[in-house]
Symmetry: C2
Subunit: 365 residues, 2 copies
DNA sequence: TGACCCTCCGGGCACGTTACCGTTAGGCTC
DNA sequence: GAGCCTAACGGTAACGTGCCCGGAGGGTCA
């Protein structure tokens, strides 16, 4: 009877104490209608018998329905498409819950994002996944959502000091630090390095810059960092800045592009015939980048694992909504360092996300 | 009624066709007792209504019990302990199945492994997870297990051309290739490099050697590879070999240690005061390695993600046992490249596995 | 003393699926 | 044509849990 091997259920406790199932259920779930002494007795016996609820039966009975919205930009698709795929994957793998997903899209970060978030939170979703671009602007909105009982989960970047239930992103400052270390390994003599960043109102980008600068100072004193170049995610701006800085006589010997929008900078380098001469570390992976890494024109890229970010974000949001177990407030994934030699393991995911093999996705998550 | 939003169940199909639940169930599961035309009708309607079975109800009714054995060595604990943790984690996360896990241990690879595997397969487990050291020797045993209806899953290395249902490991040849690329980046002038390997009867180690040699030939023609040093996982042998080769006048400038047993070689380097002078790339992560990476004595280590390997191995084994869905025959994880700058993300797992925070484990999986 | 309330507890139904058993129609043999 | 067999199908209990309803017991007040 008291077999520790097999986990006991409600019925076992009821039989052991010769009381009804209803009483055991009330005691275990802290519902009213049980005397304190009976309650303690049940809890003690549950502990003793090693009670663990049958999750399948629980899920069947509860038949929970959850609605989750994901508010993400269309641009940059090579990052956000796999992120959405990760969310869909986690939704498909969620067992014991009737989950309805709705995707809200807006053109790009900073244009329409706030409005889309507001639209999403006006409908009564149980949870919302979103990317806080300018974290400040989201503060009142997240607060309001929390008051309305909507759980918000950040992905891609964080919005600290808000009521969000958690955040999932690649570890930004470590990304920056790795870039610094790679450049320091490949630039042995005294030289200058430059960083091209996206939007410094986004926490993620600030952290990358911080990590890069800090690591340079510690492990690469022979490299000096130029003032950061902020493109505000505008391709033409990035292109112009790159041309300007690389035409200088004392041009940088190493470059870290911390935004996924790296093509304009690479295009400028190509036109100046500097590809391969200047050491370049980029961020994320997309089709146009593949041949540049293969040929060694780009030293390495720091892969932010968008698929996993989406997957983990929804998994933790569901964990929060289903049980009252709080997830880690801040979850920061280890970025993958992609060189030409391990590029082949990640290439499967640069195609159209439609045709991608999910199994392959999971190998590198 | 035919609401495409909400997934239909067995009852919906039965109602739509005005037949009984039993018939629908038989038709959907290809069980006998249904006429072909009724079966086709049911399948067609299921497709049309968007039938998806309620997994919770299914699991509750079936109440499946599975027993799985994991046959793994005690040594090297910093690799196999987290691997076992990963298996335990996946077992805990498995919902809707009464899973009983049993661990079989033996001292080390090559001593007692075959016997332990034989002992495990004599009991009637549903599945066995194991590490094929000398793959040849396992061939008849795996065949016998398959005949007895035991599903076998390789982890850490593969046993090709056997009846195993799949294998999970870090991508070995890519690991070797990354090591070659790292050394080539850090050794710019003409030099020699050496590889210390474990057991060349293990496929995983052969693949690392192949990947290393091939990548050297392609991207680092200035580096020449010495004959591989095989320690057979004996610390004293590795130490002796390292001392011998590093005392030579024309000693190697770069070293790749492809086995997790790297301390004897590092000890020899330390005694010869060569740490920091010789570029070293190691495999896996453990406590003694941390300060060496932090201080730059070791350039990088290739982390084989044992936790994830164990997790994925059991997940796929269960997938095979529960549904008849065949997993990918060979699953090769992308190894993590750990430098001093991203070391902090992995440090949580070098302590005793008991105290480890599972959440932290999952961040870097 | 009877009507009423409150606390505590037992009993039973429902969730969606599967396994088992009972029933019927139709074909077969002698 | 009676008896029998089998394929095809209907009906239903049961899996373990959550939740509601109602009943028993004790106390209070008119």
């Amino acid at each position: 009877m008291t077999n520790p091997e097999k986990s006991a259920g409600v019925k076992d406790i009821a039989q052991a104490l010769k009381i009804s199932l209803g009483t055991v259920d009330r005691a275990l779930h802290d519902r009213p209608g049980v005397s304190p002494k009976t309650r303690d007795l049940v809890l003690k016996t549950a502990q003793q018998l090693g009670y663990s609820p049958n999750l399948a039966a629980q899920a069947l009975k509860l038949n929970r329905r959850l609605s989750v919205a994901a508010v993400l930009p269309k641009h940059i698709s090579h990052f956000f498409d796999p992120l959405r795929e990760g969310i869909r994957y986690a939704a498909g793998a969620a067992v014991g819950v009737n989950l309805s997903l709705e995707f809200f899209e807006y053109p790009r970060l900073g244009s329409g994002d706030i409005e889309a978030f507001r639209r999403a939170t006006q409908k009564q979703f149980d949870g919302v996944i979103f990317l806080p671009g300018d974290a400040r602007k989201y503060e009142p909105l997240v607060k309001k959502a929390a008051q309305d009982g909507i759980a918000t989960m950040c992905v891609g970047s964080d919005a600290p000091n808000t009521e969000r239930i958690g955040s999932v992103s690649a570890h930004a400052s470590v990304s920056g630090a790795i870039a610094a270390e790679l450049l320091s390994q490949n630039l042995t003599s005294k030289a200058e390095v430059a960083i091209f960043t996206g939007e410094l109102s986004t926490l993620d980008h600030v952290e990358k810059l911080r990590g890069f600068a800090a690591a340079l100072a510690v492990i690469a004193p022979h490299l000096t960092l130029r003032p950061a170049l902020e493109s505000h995610e505008r391709p033409r701006e990035a292109y112009r800045q790159a041309l300007e800085v690389m035409k200088e006589k004392a041009r940088p010997s190493g470059i870290y592009i911390s935004t996924a929008n790296s093509m304009p900078v690479l295009k400028a380098l190509d036109e100046l015939s500097l590809l391969g001469k200047v050491k370049v570390v980029t961020t994320d992976l997309f089709r146009e980048l593949v041949p540049l890494i293969e040929s060694g024109m780009v030293l390495a890229t720091l892969y932010q694992r968008p698929f996993t970010q989406g997957k983990v974000a929804l998994e933790n949001l569901l964990l929060h909504l289903l049980r009252d177990r709080k997830p880690q407030p801040i979850l920061q994934l280890a970025p993958h360092v992609i060189f030409r030699t391990n590029l082949c393991l990640f290439e499967t995911r640069v195609g159209t996300s439609q045709d991608e093999d999910i199994e392959a996705e999971l190998q590198t998550q």
